[in-house]
Amino acid sequence: MKVNNEYRNVFIVISIVFIAGIIISLSVGRYVVSFSEVVRILVSFIFQTEGTQDLVAQGVVLNLRLPRVLGAILVGSSLAISGACYQGVFKNQLVSPDILGVSSGATVGAAIAILLGGDRFMIQIGAFLGGIAAVLLTMMIPKLLKNTSTMLLVLSGIIVGGLMGSIIGIIKFLADPDEQLAEIVYWQMGSLAKVNLPDVLGILPIVVIATVILLSLSWRINILTLGDQEAQLSGVNVKMIRSIVIICATMLTASSVSISGTIGWLGLVIPHLARILIGPDNVKVFPISLLLGSIFLVTIDTLARVLTTAELPLSILTGLIGAPFYFWILSRQRVRL
């Protein structure tokens, strides 16, 4: 079948770009480590052999770059796949992972942790719990109003988002402007600069489990796009699937936001790119989104630390690089939207 071959080709090309991206990202940086040196360090790390004696280079590659690359892969893929899921569940291509308030909730959680003087771990926990709490609140409102339409759910997300926005405002208002406010603002701009291996390992199980569940549900999510009634009559337990998807996607977004701060835009745009490349079938869209999201964030994060002496926040680059790139894709494909 021609169509499936096309998918396979796209998948292979993107996988190659993905691996190349990782290797390039590990090899470049403000501190120059030669490519052969990088390979030697990696080999000795993987096989736990004695490798190079250049401790600085080894520190740079293993302690500074590697965790960031891994972090970028997890965060990028999580945001992309949860964006794709939400777009399917809400039958709307313009929905982002923030739709139910997870990002703003995470920001509130992180900000509270910062306000209470918590360390990085506390901030991560705060962000994670805050994100989940916001989504729970969002999902409670339609229950309270005894109206379970998607429209009301989305509206609830907006209500909760507004509320969280205000709470962030209060916290910023109360925060000590030197240390705490700067920290909150920094967090909101997104950064992988501080990611270390334990962070990555901390969210890894959640990310893997949620991703696997969502990938397995991809075909059912296709059916959800037919509309609640028709999906139900096709034997899909709409409420259950929707709940699972929302829970998994929330877990993904909350965990990734917890280590990187808020990163806008990616979760909205990457699934779109995937759909432009291989059509609306989520069975294909999810894996492609996952890869594209990783590639995109690894690239952005590499640029963030390489481009200038200053370490650029991710939110700056996602827009600056992502917007023209997206525009370019749109103009190349002349897609019918």
Partner: protein, 343 residues
């Protein structure tokens, strides 16, 4: 327009007209204020401590920006000026905006604010509260800070004290300027001044860069744009600074670097860390990281760290003690001095 001629008429009209004087602020406005100022609202952050240095008390300050208060609590001022402990922080936001209407109830004799707060100044004029503008450039420029100090002196009828303070400032600056050509480029240590754990550093446009260079150091981040700009750890590895200063904008300590406990950082291979040359900047009556009354002392402190051979004709501890005695009428204890210099 009615308001224009009322603008010169201050509140509290019962008072005798002869008790007024005119102060010219940095915007060139001639502001009529009470001769004897008894209550003032201060929005710019370092000026709480500067007023203390000039007036010897903070009891005239009735409301400040919350930052002034938090600075106060972290500094020696909390010992020196206990009268300030209960000052109100409710009327001014951290971005310096004042709630004019609420302020009216306080009936302050004068409000001191930054010259860029034009809207607040106008609103205050409209309800006849005298407003005196200070140059915000004082945040990064020694000369402008001195102008501001002069205005505060006039306001408080302490011109002489202000002048003395400024003169000391000029003298110290001149001392360092005079020795500039005696420092060989290759003997200047590579210095990095870090603001916080996110690696915001004193960059090309910063006040601290000027001080570092004046006192014989090379700011490795001089080429970075902005005043406080975030950089990456890899870049720091690249620079490999010999001396690191940690500001008081963040609570981090040299031990955090020595023990490599900051997430996402790797300090172990940096010369300054290997040689234990990481310094927490001092806090006197205010943190020295930004222009303030104690800036001359800060220069002296920097000078003896960066060029101990060259700047050897003063004893830092003594100069600090003298400054406190002369300008703040306070005898620093050994313990207080050690705490100030993080010893």
């Amino acid at each position: 327009n009615d308001n224009a001629d009322q603008g010169t008429e201050p509140v509290g009209q019962a008072d005798d007209q002869s008790e007024f004087k005119t102060v010219v602020d940095v915007l060139g406005r001639e502001v009529e204020v009470k001769n004897e100022i008894n209550s003032m609202v201060v929005t710019p952050v370092p000026y709480g401590s500067i007023i203390y240095a000039i007036d010897g008390t903070m009891e005239k300050i009735v409301a400040v920006n919350p930052d002034v208060k938090s600075e106060y609590e972290k500094s020696l001022l909390s010992t020196l000026a206990p009268e300030f402990a209960d000052v109100s922080v409710d009327y001014v936001s951290t971005d310096f905006t004042v709630n004019v209407e609420a302020l009216l109830n306080l009936k302050p004799d004068v409000v001191v604010l930054w010259h860029v707060q034009e809207d607040d100044i106008r609103k205050l004029e409209q309800v006849n509260i005298p407003a005196v503008a200070l140059d915000q450039g004082g945040g990064s420029n020694l000369e402008k800070t001195r102008d501001n100090i002069e205005i505060i002196g006039k306001l408080l009828n302490k011109e002489q004290q202000a002048e003395n303070l400024n003169q000391y400032n000029i003298d110290v600056e001149d001392y360092f300027t005079a020795k500039q050509d005696q420092i060989a480029e290759n003997e200047k240590p590579k210095v990095l001044y870090i603001r916080d754990k996110n690696l915001a550093v004193a960059a090309g446009g910063s006040f601290n860069r000027q001080l570092i260079e004046l006192t014989g150091g090379i700011n490795v981040a001089a080429g970075v744009k902005g005043s406080w700009t975030g950089v990456s750890m890899e870049e720091v590895l690249n620079w490999n600074p010999e001396i690191i200063y940690l500001s008081n904008f963040d609570s981090f300590q040299p031990e955090d670097l020595y023990n490599n406990t900051i997430e996402g950082h790797d300090w172990s291979q940096i010369d300054a860390v290997k040689n234990k040359r990481v310094y927490k900047t001092p806090v006197g009556i205010i943190r020295w990281d930004a222009p303030c009354a104690e800036t001359p002392l800060f220069m002296k402190w920097l000078g003896q760290i960066q060029q101990p051979e060259l700047f050897n004709d003063y004893v830092l501890d003594e100069d600090i003690r003298n400054f406190y005695k002369e300008f703040l009428s306070y005898d620093l204890t050994e313990q207080e001095l050690n705490k100030m210099l993080n010893r």
